[in-house]
Symmetry: C2
């Protein structure tokens, strides 16, 4: 890769193809803070997408959210969504409800023939995630799981370097993500504290997933075994086992990816891959509203790249929209997301059993 | 802590006490590359130590090494050392032979009433490491295990910050160390490839020990359980299980320290502690002839400190010498090193069994 491409075009959209079509009209499902404050504003800036419909469990929340973008034509309830209300007004559905409630929205969207962009983790269990895979397959609709790191320029540049052999063969990966959920949601009632809505736990499912999936993306491989440790102390995490978590994924060719995560620590994130010839580090790595850092080392040389930061959600929606408009299948699809669901369940199982869990 | 102390006195010797005594005269035991190219030159620059005796298995190697410093008066064999030859010419003994051969040298040194600075890991097994603890206790001689990170300014400043609560309560630790042993010792016959001389393995005992012990030092705590994964592929590592290794230490208060190490990857090292309020990173962290980096983050603020680098070996010898001359017990002692030996054995056991191993 040319050095100039790092200086001139770091944030280039290597995935973009020209199109005169569009925009893709979205029904945004789930009016939590993420959809309202991150997704809808990002779509408003998007080159290929617009929000035309907002869907909330409550009529009031839907009506409130209708003011978030000029393009919004319909504010409907979940029930109305399932009944096909306003189905002509959207082409695609973004599902951002609590994890364990994605399936039914995806099933309805697929049955209506809509493209599906589903937030991660896909669901609360492997079984229900399989339901998503089945639903999009049955109706042959385009589908993507919203791993925004996979369209983040720093991560894509890291992947290009790995593929070009810049660090030799990967040997080990370190990843971490932490934030302070009790400060973000002080009342302790948020769904991310609840096993019935978040999935088998809180930290691994919600943020441990970032280093987990980004490691898979960078290595272009899936883990064959995992071991994990976790613990909860703070009362807000009484229902989940993983206020603090660590897990190690054993990838093919004996690459070990070791990750930590916590919903109750300072905001921090990093991802580092060390290889036989060098290393690449993204730090900070994962938070939406924080600049990413990008560092390389090889032999005795080290360099840090400063680059134009992107809005990750806009990048993700533009990637999805551009692929739909140019008739290409977006990645990562539900089958890819299902692997993470299996890894997540294995992580919790490993922590509970105190033993390595095989994934083969 | 004052900001000015980071700018003016980063490398300050917080442990140093004035003395008119000295120098401490050393018998250096084991004339491998480390002693010859790192330890003896560092002692030559030391404020409190000098090398007066060199000890090698072979008469020729001892004679050759005698030219490494003007202060060297005697070049003797191991056998002569055990016979007490030239014992009047030294006050302390530095043991830097293959890991699994330390015990007998320490026993002789202790019986001769000499202070002992023993390289890490202390020995090849817990049982023989206990022999070292017993020997120095029986003869009541000052003892220290040569964990040079514990006298490294960046690590000491990190520890001060942790103790002052700068990052709140520690939550997770990441550590990594890798180097390319097959490039350093291409013939595959070096003792670090041999289980009978290196201990239960190669990577964890030799370099995994750095993040392991530095995490213990920074957290001022000992792990209560460990889990680990390891693998060997390259033929040079046919005798040891850990060309690649990862291990997670579970510390009290559910602090997880997750580490990777490899004897066959690019030279790389880092140590990061994330807490409830911030984080501290030493990167590069562990290599003797590489500058250390030091970074802090708290809230939205990040800073990197550039500071005067020290010769780690000189710092270690000066620490040891200054403590002997001022009648203070040096740290870390053999009892501290014994804990690492237990952790190391548990790491190999965990990897073999595929299960978490308790240390309580």
């Amino acid at each position: 890769m040319e050095l100039s491409s790092y200086l001139d075009e770091f944030a280039r959209r290597d995935w973009e193809e020209p199109t005169e079509e569009g925009p893709v009209r979205f029904a945004m499902v789930g009016m939590g803070w993420w959809t309202r404050t991150q997704a809808i504003p990002a779509v408003a800036e998007s080159d290929y997408c617009e929000t035309t419909v907002v869907v909330s469990r409550s009529e009031e929340k839907a009506a409130e959210a209708a003011t978030l973008a000029d393009s919004i034509e319909h504010a409907i309830t979940g029930e109305q969504f399932h009944d096909g209300v306003a189905a002509d007004a959207y082409d695609a559905v973004y599902v951002c409800t609590p994890n364990a409630t994605h399936l039914e929205y995806v099933e309805t969207a697929a049955a209506l023939g809509k493209a599906v962009l589903c937030e991660k983790p896909m669901e609360g269990s492997v079984e229900r995630a399989r339901g998503i895979v089945d639903a999009v397959a049955a109706h042959d609709v385009p589908d993507m799981v919203a791993y925004r790191m996979q369209t983040e320029p720093a991560v894509r540049r890291a992947k290009e370097l790995l593929e070009a052999g810049f660090i030799g063969d990967p040997v080990s990966v370190h990843g971490h993500m932490s934030q302070r959920l009790p400060e973000m949601f002080p009342d302790g009632k948020h769904w991310r504290y609840r096993r019935d809505l978040a999935g088998p736990g809180s930290t691994v499912t919600d943020i441990g997933l970032y280093p987990m999936n980004t490691a898979r993306f960078l290595l272009d491989a899936d883990p064959v075994a995992v071991s994990a440790t976790m613990a909860s102390e703070h009362e807000a995490f009484a229902d989940v086992p993983d206020e603090y978590a660590s897990f190690t994924m054993h990838f093919p060719d004996d690459v070990f990816a070791t990750c930590t995560a916590s919903q109750n620590a300072a905001q921090s994130s990093h991802l580092k891959v060390v290889g036989t010839e060098g290393e690449v580090t993204v730090e900070p790595a994962f938070f939406h509203r924080q600049d990413r850092g990008f560092r390389l080392a090889r032999g005795d040389a080290r360099l840090a790249v400063e680059f134009e930061q992107v809005d990750q959600m806009r990048e993700e929606f533009d990637y999805f929209g551009n692929h739909l408009l140019t008739g290409r299948a977006p990645h990562p699809d539900a089958a890819h997301g299902l692997v993470d669901m299996r890894v997540i369940e294995a992580v919790y199982e490993s922590a509970e059993r105190g033993a390595t869990v095989s994934l083969t």
